[in-house]
Structures are given as C-alpha cells and as structure tokens.
C-alpha cells in the first residue's frame, strides 16, 4: 500500500465516523426487527463486579465517542473541555476494560456454560482487542518514547481503533441486551 493511499485512507476518518455509526445503527435496527420474535439466548453468567465494569465501560465509551466524534465532525480537531472529558473517560475505560476482561473472559469462551453465540463472542473479543489498542496507543504517548511523527501515527491508530471500539461496544451492548429480553 503506497504512502499516498494510506494518507487518503487516514484523511477519510470523518467520513468513516459517519458511515461507521450509520452502518452500526442500521445493522442493529435491522437485526432487532428481524429477530423480534426469535428465541432469546440466556445472559452470560458473570459476577456483579463484572456487570458493573461492563456498565462502566459502556458509559465511558459513550463519553469517549461523543466527545471525539462531535468535535472531529464539527471542528476537525478535539480540544478544550471535550478533550479533557475524553482523557478522563479514557483513563476510566482502561481500568474498566481490564476488569471486564478478567470477569467476562471465561463466560465468553467457546464452549462455556453460558454458550454465547458466535457474534456475541466475536464482538466481545473485538471490544477487548480494540480497547487494548486504543488505550495502549495513548498510554505510550504519555512517555517520552515517540517523536512528533511517531505521536501522529499513534494518534491515527488511536482514532481508528477508537472508532472500532465504539462500534463493537454498541454491537455487544445490543447483543447482550437483546439476549436478556
């Protein structure tokens, strides 16, 4: 992939936000309509701490997405109070995801007694993986390890993994919620 093509892709981020969020909403909407009378899957067996951590994760991801997408689409950059809230939520979500990983991993494995469906499992592990990438890129930038070019690459990776995290979290939240109805 040529450098020019990579730059083209990276500069399409605002478009990707709109398309990604729109597609996610569409998928969830269509699935909810199509599966409205289907049998419900039992909820995964998770400790209360795990559920709390998951709720915290969802709340933080909502804040992260709201602060990021609104400012990027409006101004092209994130700064001021949105950036402050984004950073605060980012720190919290790193911690929450670690707790979620410890408390939900067994229930989300293939062959667990909870028997989550494939889509739910894939969503869950995508959330953890993308969350790891998004938080690690910003954690790395707090150390004097990368110069300006490296920091900009970290920021690009963070943006895209963050978008992915938001989409997969929304999907997983829907699937877990749908299973409990």
């Amino acid at each position: 992939m040529s450098a020019g093509l990579i730059d083209e892709v990276l500069s399409a981020y605002p478009t990707a936000i709109v398309v990604g969020l729109g597609a996610t909403a569409l998928v969830i909407g269509v699935h909810a309509f199509a599966a409205r009378s289907a049998a419900r899957q039992p909820a995964p067996q998770v400790r209360p701490l795990g559920r709390l951590a998951w709720l915290g994760t969802v709340a933080c991801v909502l804040v992260l997405g709201g602060t990021a997408f609104a400012t990027i689409l409006s101004y092209g950059v994130m700064h001021g109070y949105p950036l402050l809230f984004h950073v605060a939520a980012g720190g919290a979500v790193s911690f929450a995801l670690a707790v979620v990983a410890l408390t939900w991993a067994r229930a989300m494995r293939r062959g667990s007694s909870s028997r989550p469906d494939t889509l739910t499992r894939i969503s869950f592990w995508s959330v953890l993986t993308l969350g790891l990438i998004a938080s690690t890129t910003m954690l790395a930038s707090t150390f004097p390890l990368f110069g300006t070019a490296g920091m900009e690459h970290l920021l690009d990776v963070h943006r895209w993994s963050g978008l992915g995290l938001f989409i997969t979290t929304a999907l997983l939240a829907y699937l877990l919620r749908a299973g409990r109805r």
């Binding site: 402050l84 993986t129 790891l132």
Partner: protein
C-alpha cells in the same frame, strides 16, 4: 572651488544622483570567494571624484562612492532602508521607534510602516529631519527612502542627504564608530556622518547652529559650512582610501541596532547571560537573516513573503529544523540546513506544535513569576556611552510576555506601554508633542529633569516612623527593621507619593484643558491607564482606552539550548499551578507612580480558560499514578487477549489434527 562643489552637491543631493543612474553593465562583481580589497577613490555627493588630500575637500558620499560598482539604487529598497519608499512592505509588526522625553514622561511607539498600535512620526509632530536627528543613532541611513525626506529642499540643503551607509553593516574594521555616527547625525551634519564614523575625516563646525535660509550660492554662506579634513594616514599614495569591507556583516554590526539586555533587580548580570545557542554553535546572524543584492533581509517568521518571490520558509525555525510537508504528507522542503538538528519532541503531543510557536518554548529568558524588564538598542540608544542610563529610563519594556496572536498561536513578545499627554476626542487620543507639553508640565508637575515615580518620592517623616516602627526606634537603621516593617513603610510612602502626584496631575490637566481644541478633553496616559479630570474638574477619573494599550512585538532571541527549553523537565513545566509559563504576570510600566498598577497574567494574555487550565493542572498531579494503573490494566488486557488467542490457536490445531487423523484412518 571645492566649497562651491560641496554647496552644489549638498543642494541637489540625490535628485542629481538619480539622474545619473548607473547602467547595470557598470556594476561589478569578482565572483571570487576572496574578498575584494576596496581601495577606493572618494566621490562627493555630486558624483565627482576628488582628492581628499586637497584643501577644502568635501565630505565623501558613501552613496556615490559605492554606486560606482554596486546597484545602490536597488539596495536602498531593502528592508532596513525602505519604510517610506515601499510602504506596502510592512510584514509582521516588529520593534517600533519609541520617542521618549524624560521631562514629560513621554514614550510613544512610532513607525513609518503603519503597524497597528504605532503612530506615524508626523502625527506627533516629528518631521523627517527631526526624526533623523533623534533616531539616526540606530538608523542605517535612508533619509529619503526610510524617513520620506525631501532631501533637495528645506534644511536638507544645508545638512546634506543622509543616504544609506553601507559601512554600518559591511565594515570589518573595529574603528567604525557608532558613537561618532550618532553624534554627527544628532548635530544634523548628515553629509559628514559617513566620513566621520569611518574615522577617515574630522569636521570643524556644525550645521546645527546655521540658519535655515543660509544662502549657499555665496562664498560667505558656503564658508559657514563645516570644514572637512581627511586623515593623511588613511589615504594611500594614490589618494585612495581603504574601505575594510566584508560581504557578510559581523554579528557585532547587527548588535549596533539589535542588542537587548536585561535590567532591573531580577536581571542577571551580563557575565551570567549566555549568547544565542545558534551563535554558540558557530553560526552568525546573517546565516539566517540573509538576502541578495536587493537587501531585503529575511526576518524569519512563518508566512513571510519575500519580494523576490523566492520561498524563504526554510529560513524559519520550522523550515530549518523540520521537513515541510504538503497536506498529503509528502516532503516539499527538507530541513537540516547548515546542520540543523531535527528535534524529536519525544512525548510532546503534536497539538502543541500547532498552537504554539517554536519561540514560545525556546526563545528569550526562561519564564519567571514576573516578566522581566529589558532595554534595547533602538529604544534606549544602547552602544552609546552614558553613565546615567538606568533601569528606570523610559521606555519600560517587559519580556518575556506570552500571548496568543491574531492567528491563535501562542508566542513570546516584548511589551511596552505608551505614555504621553494628549487630547481625547472622538474615541481617539492625540499625543501632544513633548516640547509643547513641557511648557505646562514643568510648572504644574514641578519637573526639573525627569518625570518618573522616584522624582518626587516622599521621604519618611517622624509621623511615619512612629506609625511603622514606633517613635522610640526612629533612629534605628532600616536594615534592622523586619521585612514587614519595611514593606509597611514602602507602601505608606508610595501611597503618599501617588497622592501628591495625582494632586499635581489635576493641576497639569487643568492647564492643558485651557488650551484644548474644541470638544477635546485633556488626558495623561501612563502604564495602560488614562487619567482625566472628573466632572468637578478637581479630582482624577482613571480609566482605560485602546490608545493606552501596550504595543507588542514578537521576540525570537536569544534561543536557549534544548535542555533549557520550556518542557524539558516534563509536562509540569507548563501544566502545574506553579508554572510561570501560565501563571506568571506582567506589570505595566510607566512614569506615573502607581500603587495599583495593571498586572495581567500570562493565562489571560494567552486567552486560556482558567477553569479548564486548572482542571488540566490537577489531572497532571495524578499522571504518574495513572501511568502505573494504565500499564497494569494494559498488561491484564494483553494477557487475557493473548490467552484467548492461544486457546483459539489450540482449537485450530486440534481441528487440523482430527482432520489429519481421519484422512489417515481412511
């Protein structure tokens, strides 16, 4: 004969020379790296060669002498000479000329370039001749092209033209005297300035006392002009004079006009201060501030447009140290000129490079709790010996002051506050020329030499001693007082001094009001405040006005080494409640005693939200703990994800193994 030639030359000056423009073919180059030895025949202002050894030899014209080989007509449109000739070429606002008059406390930023916040010299009663007399000390000549003088008429018939003097910058000889140049120009002996400053001639007499209507067509008139005598030791056997010329001016030549030095109780002594890191690395001023024959010196700020059309981006901080890329990341201009190291800025979020100039972290003194005070060559006549020059001299200039410019970028600047007597009308304050103002000020303010806070400072009385330390300790030396007692006495005296000053100010403003134009109100401006008479006319009303706001200009030197840049010690250099970068203050400077001077924080000048700034500062207090928690959380996530990855791999291996087993069984 020679006196007649001189008189005619003085009378026609540049008008005659313009008519004798050299053809481009006559301009010479050697195209060699070896400097050309300039043994030159001297030429007078009329364009005629003369023998300096002859009786009654005229002052040589540097303009005519140099233009034998060099296109001086083109050169005189260069940046240092062209304020009047090329008014559309103002560029970024820079250091103004500051007209000061200590007797009246006047300090007015002036410029021919129309920079916002400055006034044109003629607005405040300075005609070109007077401007040259006052500021010629730090001017490279250019009566016509810089000051817009009509050098063919008026008093310029007698003074002669003050053309650009190449030797101010291009002389390698330490015998070129700034002091002689300044004194000669101040005496209106413009035509003689180049010869005297170079040290090749002396002059007897001066133009200064001669009447404006001196008839130079008569022998008696011409006889009153100064007599020029050339030093025989400076003239070779052929009647030529050696001009010790260098192509690239030395740093010391630049320092003639561009020296800045700290003053005041917070300033380090001279021997402590370090030079700019670029100079320490072996560079010179002209390595960056360069130009071609057109002499349009590159100033080195981002966005600078050079009149030749040549891109000068690579001569800015970023252009030299960093690669310049287009919107798609392709390199359009490589950094690294002259071996400039590429800064990594490791750990610095890139947003800082967009919202802050390079100079905000790398230039000027390290920010401190209070902005320091400096004096500059242009403002304070540095370079001219003066045993009376002191930190209280006008104008007061503060640095470094951090502010957000019109483009929204944080940069360090120097700041000075105008002070003058004036008339306010229609939302504008028009300064009163100092010599006019002094007529009222001398009597009503009881000024002898200088109008400034310490001129009428109150002395402690017995009542003061009794109130502060007790009557029994009145004889005790102040050194034995407690710091609180000293501060109490200082405040007491300052308040009384201010009250006394205000009382005299009411009298002065009343006197000015009597002579005020129709509808105008007499005011005094100092340190960002405007003093007016209130409705009763017997007390002061103190307010503000846009014409009283400080004038600022960006600073870029001296550049500190990387380890001394702001941020070298980490984020708390800026993001902490104790950070002088954000929470430092600058106090307005002016000649009026003021117990409540306008003091502004850098936070306000940088247009930062105080709540947001405080929130960021608090967040950095827990940053180290956050990093530890973050690393642990990331490690846990990584292990869990890896474990699942291995479990998944294990399942894949088993599936592949079962299929292989079935194939073998079949």
């Amino acid at each position: 004969m020679m006196s007649r030639a001189l008189a005619i030359g003085v009378a026609v000056a540049l008008a005659g020379t313009a008519g004798m423009a050299q053809e481009p073919e006559s301009f010479k180059r050697t195209d060699s790296r070896r400097p050309y030895a300039h043994h030159l025949e001297l030429i007078d202002s009329e364009g005629r060669k003369f023998d300096p050894r002859a009786e009654g030899a005229p002052p040589f014209s540097i303009y005519q002498t140099c233009r034998t080989c060099h296109d001086v007509a083109k050169i005189e449109h260069g940046w240092h000479f062209n304020a009047a000739a090329d008014p559309g070429d103002a560029g970024r606002p820079g250091e103004p000329w500051i007209w000061t008059d200590e007797r009246t406390g006047t300090s007015i930023p002036l410029s021919f370039r129309g920079w916002p916040g400055t006034r044109r010299p003629e607005e405040v009663g300075l005609d070109p001749l007077r401007f040259l007399q006052i500021f010629g000390r730090q001017l490279t000549g250019g009566a016509r092209t810089y000051a817009g003088a009509d050098v063919e008429s008026g008093r310029f018939r007698i003074t002669g033209d003050l053309p650009i003097d190449c030797m101010i910058c291009h002389s390698a000889s330490r015998s070129w005297s700034h002091e002689k140049w300044a004194k000669t120009v101040a005496e209106q002996d413009f035509a003689w300035a180049a010869a005297i400053a170079m040290g090749v001639a002396k002059v007897e007499g001066s133009v200064r006392g001669l009447p404006d209507d001196l008839d130079l067509t008569t022998d008696e008139g011409r006889a009153q002009l100064p007599k020029t005598t050339y030093d025989p030791a400076k003239i070779d056997l052929d009647g030529h004079v050696f001009f010790d010329v260098v192509r690239r001016p030395t740093n010391e030549a630049c320092y003639t006009c561009h020296t800045v030095h700290g003053v005041g109780e917070d300033a380090d002594p001279r021997w402590i201060r370090d030079v700019d890191v670029h100079l320490r690395a072996g560079m010179s001023c002209v390595d960056c501030h360069r130009h071609g024959l057109e002499h349009h010196t590159v100033r080195g700020y981002e966005g600078e447009q050079h009149p030749t059309g040549i891109a000068v981006d690579s001569l800015t901080c970023r252009g030299c140290h960093l690669d310049q890329t287009d919107g798609h990341g392709a390199v359009v201009s490589r950094g690294g000129r002259l071996g400039a190291p590429m800064p990594l800025h490791a750990g610095l979020p890139p947003v800082h490079l967009d919202t802050m100039s390079c100079t905000s972290c790398h230039s000027g003194p390290l920010p401190s709790a209070r902005a320091g005070q400096v004096q500059t060559s242009m403002a304070h006549g540095l370079g001219l010996p003066d045993q009376l020059r002191g930190p209280e001299d006008l104008p007061g200039i503060a640095e470094p002051v951090l502010r957000r410019n019109a483009a929204g970028v944080i940069e360090p600047v120097r700041m000075t506050w105008p002070s003058f007597w004036g008339y306010e009308k229609d939302d504008r304050i028009t300064p009163i020329p100092p010599d006019v103002a002094f007529r009222n000020v001398r009597r009503s303010m009881r000024v002898r030499e200088r109008l400034r806070p310490d001129a009428h400072a109150e002395k402690p009385t017995a009542e003061d001693f009794a109130a502060v330390v007790g009557a029994g300790r009145a004889e005790e030396p102040e050194a034995e007082w407690t710091p609180e007692e000293r501060e109490t006495m200082r405040r007491r005296l300052a308040e009384r001094t201010e009250q006394g000053f205000h009382g005299r100010l009411v009298t002065a403003l009343g006197a000015f009001q009597k002579g005020a134009p129709e509808g105008a109100v007499a005011v005094a401006v100092s340190a960002g405040k405007v003093y007016r008479l209130d409705g009763s006319g017997e007390a002061l009303a103190i307010g503000t006005h846009p014409d009283a706001e400080p004038y600022v200009w960006p600073l870029a030197h001296d550049v500190r080494p990387a380890r001394m840049s702001t941020g070298a010690n980490g984020c708390p250099d800026c993001h902490s409640p104790q950070s002088p970068f954000v929470h430092g203050t600058v106090t307005a400077l002016g000649p009026a005693p003021d117990t409540t001077p306008r003091t502004t924080s850098m936070l306000e000048l940088m247009d930062l939200d105080p709540t947001l700034t405080a929130a960021w500062e608090q967040s950095f207090r827990g940053r180290d703990a956050f990093k530890v928690v973050g690393v642990i959380a990331a490690a846990i996530l990584t292990l869990v994800v890896l474990l699942q990855l291995f479990v998944g791999l294990d399942a894949v291996v088993r599936v592949l193994g079962r299929r292989r087993g079935k194939e073998e069984a079949s």
